[in-house]
Symmetry: C2
Subunit: 335 residues, 2 copies
DNA sequence: CTTAAGTACTGCAACGTTGTATAGTCCAGT
DNA sequence: ACTGGACTATACAACGTTGCAGTACTTAAG
């Protein structure tokens, strides 16, 4: 029903291939012919059929972005930025939600969509290490974790150093009983492990006890529940490092609900710098990863792999992105 | 490079079509043959080429969801729910961010992606009324607004009634100086107009003055700025109805920053019931649209249009989805 | 005047898949 | 033994596009 090259060709009185040439900007087309073809295209409202193009070229112009969940503001932000970065290359982004399910993540790495996408930007949650190595031929860029030196490109901040920065900041306020909310034992929870390592290193250095609260996932409710446990069991902390901002906002809620003052009684710092934390009361201190740069680098890396240049086949690259400590009200006061 | 039916056929010693039949679950294939083909498929890691399928069938199995921005929690939530609903029909969802730019929205409605997608679920921001009528042949379901009785299906809550509910709730607390934050004058800002109408109707009924604050967009910063203006100019309100939760959270921030008590001095209610509002301090009263149902209905409606049934060609349908008032701390106390 | 190079355009094949048409085999019911 | 039907499998064409090869004409160079 929609017009194809054939219809345009008939209307303009030229061959199909000439229309194709016009559409693709081939140089050797007489201006008069070009104009006639253009007119026919406009008149019929011709739009190239991507399926046919892809069938011929093997390229779809679509890349997939796989994230655990869009509801999480950090991933929503990264997704938005990646869509923008991909747009510059006129790529379309297909967003896959894994919900952190290992099965889904495995499918993606195994190339479930191999024919539909040219490349994959993947923020793994349930998979780690060697499981990410089962490559499918589709270029893949990993996001967020430093992975065992695997076969894939990889963009991340230095989680451990950033966590250490956050913890050190709490120390610098004179706090001595510093808790961590966000511990996870699953071997695939690389983010949690790395941030925990940073936290531990600073406390060890200062000769302080650690106070580690596990969570099932990284949502507000988990942070609120963990904080409640922390307050119910034994001596309360005077500072909390939450492994992401959602946990921190949950913890904040519990603290305020119980009439504690933040940062007066307890200082709170998060991780990710989501917008919520800039408008909460108190506003939330946090580690701010350079999300725009992460998105840009991920797309650039994929572009290199997809290009015809020499970089298309080089060894996997690991790119480090900067982070910075953002001090806001939740840690601004004295003890 | 990846194997096709041809390769599987060669390995299994059958015709291409037989492999196709096995893949598509055609009944009349001998068990032995089927097994042999299956084995070959496993061995080669065959995956159907979607481009070729689409080229044959005209169907891509992909629907597009166009929203203003993923960063907004409400849209992120709806997007997540639509992805889930689409999954039940094994559809893939392509998410388009319009950033509220009219040009992009026009392109979508005009069928920019016509060959890549089977249908479109569209939450318009810059376009309204007749501009949405330029249909492209791709089935479209509109989200969120009651649109001029256009040619497209449409799922929405009753914005005006919901806004009236919110305003009436503030009235029921005995508040008399009730402001509205979120007014927009652009003719395409249908949401803002409808919510304003609901607000006005209740105040008119009660014989109270309206106090209307315009905003550029519906983000936290806009809410914070509008609230600041409200407090700086003349007599402050004792209640505020914000046209979405982000505005409300911004307003909340400004109020608390200035030492006002919520709801003591000023009661605040929002709209959308995003998760943030359940963990803010105070927690945020709001209008909760049944987002899961919106998502489900939108996908179902699209499925009907795409199916072969009689509903595929009927007149456009307008579906109303329920909403409810959720009272939380930000309006819970007495004046 | 011939040759070579460049320009303008066309035809054919192929990408991987599936619908239609077809052909052979086997069995049950006449 | 003969017909009709169900079962199993195959060949061919077509979806819309583009790479490649090729034709015909024009111009510049030798």
């Amino acid at each position: 029903m929609p017009p194809g090259l054939k219809d345009v060709a008939a209307r303009a009185g030229v061959s199909i291939k000439t229309v194709s040439n016009v559409v693709n900007g081939y140089v050797h087309v007489a201006p008069a012919t070009r104009a006639r073809v253009q007119a026919a295209i406009e008149a019929l409202g011709y739009v190239p059929n991507m399926a046919a193009r892809q069938l011929r070229s093997g390229r779809s112009g679509v890349i997939a972005l796989a994230v655990p969940e869009l509801q999480s503001p950090y991933f929503a932000e990264v997704a938005g930025l990646i869509v923008q970065a991909a747009e510059q290359r006129s790529w379309t982004v297909l967003i896959d939600q894994t919900d952190g399910q290992a099965e889904r993540e495995r499918n993606l790495v195994a190339g479930l969509r191999r024919h539909a996408i040219d490349g994959l930007i993947f923020s793994p949650l349930a998979l780690a290490g060697e499981e990410l190595a089962h490559q499918s031929g589709t270029p893949m860029v990993l996001l967020g974790e430093r992975v065992w030196h695997g076969p894939a490109d990889h963009v991340a901040i230095d989680n451990t150093a950033a966590a250490a920065d956050a913890t050190r900041h709490l120390r610098s306020l004179g706090r001595r009983r510093i808790a961590a909310i966000g511990v996870q034992t699953a071997p695939s929870a690389v983010t949690a492990h790395q941030r925990l390592a940073g936290y531990r290193s600073v406390l060890a250095e200062a000769g302080l006890e650690t106070l580690e609260m596990p969570v099932a996932s990284f949502h507000r409710a988990d942070g609120a529940a963990a904080m409640a446990r922390l307050l119910d069991e034994g001596e309360p902390p005077d500072a909390v490092f939450c492994f992401n901002d959602l946990l921190a906002l949950g913890a904040l809620r519990t603290l305020l609900e119980r009439g504690l003052s933040v940062p007066g009684d307890v200082a709170v710092i998060g991780f990710d710098d989501i917008e919520d934390g800039r408008f909460s009361t108190p506003t939330l201190s946090t580690i701010s990863p350079d999300a725009a740069r992460i998105a840009q680098l991920a797309v650039d890396l994929l572009a290199e792999r997809l290009g015809d240049g020499p970089a298309a086949v080089g060894a996997p690259r690991e790119l480090r992105v900067d982070h910075r400590l953002v001090v806001r009200e939740s840690t601004a006061g004295a003890a």
